[in-house]
Amino acid sequence: MKPLAGVGLGWRRQLAHRIDQEPGLGFVEVLAEHLNPTAPLPAPLLRLRERGVPLVLHAVSLGLGGAEPPDTRRLDTLALLAKRLGAVCVSEHVAFVRADGIESGHLLPVPRGDEALDVLAENVRLAQAALPVPLALENIATLFEWPAPSCTEAEFLAGLLSRTSALLLLDVANLYANALNLGTDAAAVLAAVPRERLAYVHVAGGVRHGTLYHDTHAHPVPMGPLELLEALAARLGPVPALLERDDHFPSPEELAAELRAIDAAIARGVARREAEMVQRPEPQVMAARGSEARP
């Protein structure tokens, strides 16, 4: 997959003008459920494509974490949309959305166990086979967990990466939410992300309601997710990051500030990484010094 770079913004009709005018966006994410597969693409998206802005296609209704294999009609539609957009990759979620014919309308967590992981991995492989571009999987936020998980979220993601060749879409806001609401070990999840499997990062805002943190995509991004993003960049170097905003659309100044804050967090992480690399010289240099020190 052609690597993504820089800071991106999720395309929404209310942000179409801003995205069209913004020269510095690294890439743009388009939601599959907002597109009509039988009609031409909206003109602003065609323009982005013509200008060579990298596009990724994001979907929510496959339900790869569900018991059923992914629906072939949905996969065909995604493949068609991906081709028409010239999308660099397609992203979906580690979640299920329906069971027993009932649509939940929500992304629900997958049980963290070997059986569920096997089913998920098989669904992912089926989806990959049907799509013309690489598939990336996003971690979700949830208020509850399945009883008696046999591994941590970090281990589960690592297991998924080892059973499939899919990429990862790391959502630091969801990770932050889980850390607050479930006590998830965020650092362990960050450590489980290999650079070559990371497609891009999601960043979004949220708000606290009582004791719980809600990832709303309708508020400014708080420090928590930005700190996780910084930590990720400190581990892996520069990473492509995309801001998701779905509601209460901000003024142009506020939006620019949000994008700058993401850029700054990545820059801080990269700076830390470079500082650490200077302090910790490479092993062969140490060996050479060692041989010099020997009388």
């Binding site: 329906r98 027993d100 009883p147």
Partner: protein, 159 residues
């Protein structure tokens, strides 16, 4: 254990959870009931908000009674086939019509929907070609047409 049996077990467990979230069935054993119920409330709120956005006139017409009516209906009628707020709202409208509680103010919105879409057993199907509808609203008659290509034209006759 074969993958198929794993799928069956997963299906059963996920059904129980979804029924609890969408239909108020008991929280399955081992889950944090408070958190699951909070998620159920979130699901319902999300579903309701999306229907309100898709059916603004109906929302306005029902005012304060939208929320209790919708919530009560929603628990008995989970979304099936597709998570489309347009279809969801249309089914809710059907329930209101059946009970004779559909507000007059929202009749035009319903007419426009009928011009554009057809709600079938397989879900929402967009209409194609020319469609004509008429409706009596108060003391006037509303004629509306959907032209091939998608445009909707309206004409109000004051008699």
């Amino acid at each position: 254990m074969s993958a198929r049996t794993a799928r069956e077990r997963l299906a059963e467990a996920q059904s129980a959870l979804v029924r609890s979230l969408a239909q108020g069935a008991p929280v399955p054993a081992g889950f944090n009931a408070e958190r699951v119920q909070e998620t159920a409330r979130t699901l319902l709120a999300k579903r309701r908000r999306r229907v309100q956005r898709s059916w603004p006139r109906l929302t306005e017409a029902l005012g304060e009674s939208f929320r209790p009516r919708f919530d009560a209906w929603a628990q008995e009628n989970p979304m099936e086939l597709e998570a489309s707020p347009l279809a969801d709202g249309r089914r809710f409208a059907d329930a209101l019509l059946g009970a004779g509680e559909f507000p007059d103010m929202a009749r035009e919105e319903l007419l426009i929907f009928e011009l554009r879409y057809h709600l079938t057993g397989q879900g929402l199907v967009p209409r194609r070609g020319l469609t004509l509808r008429s409706m009596r609203i108060g003391s006037s008659i509303l004629l509306a047409a959907r032209l091939p290509g998608g445009r909707v034209l309206r004409l109000r006759l004051p008699f």
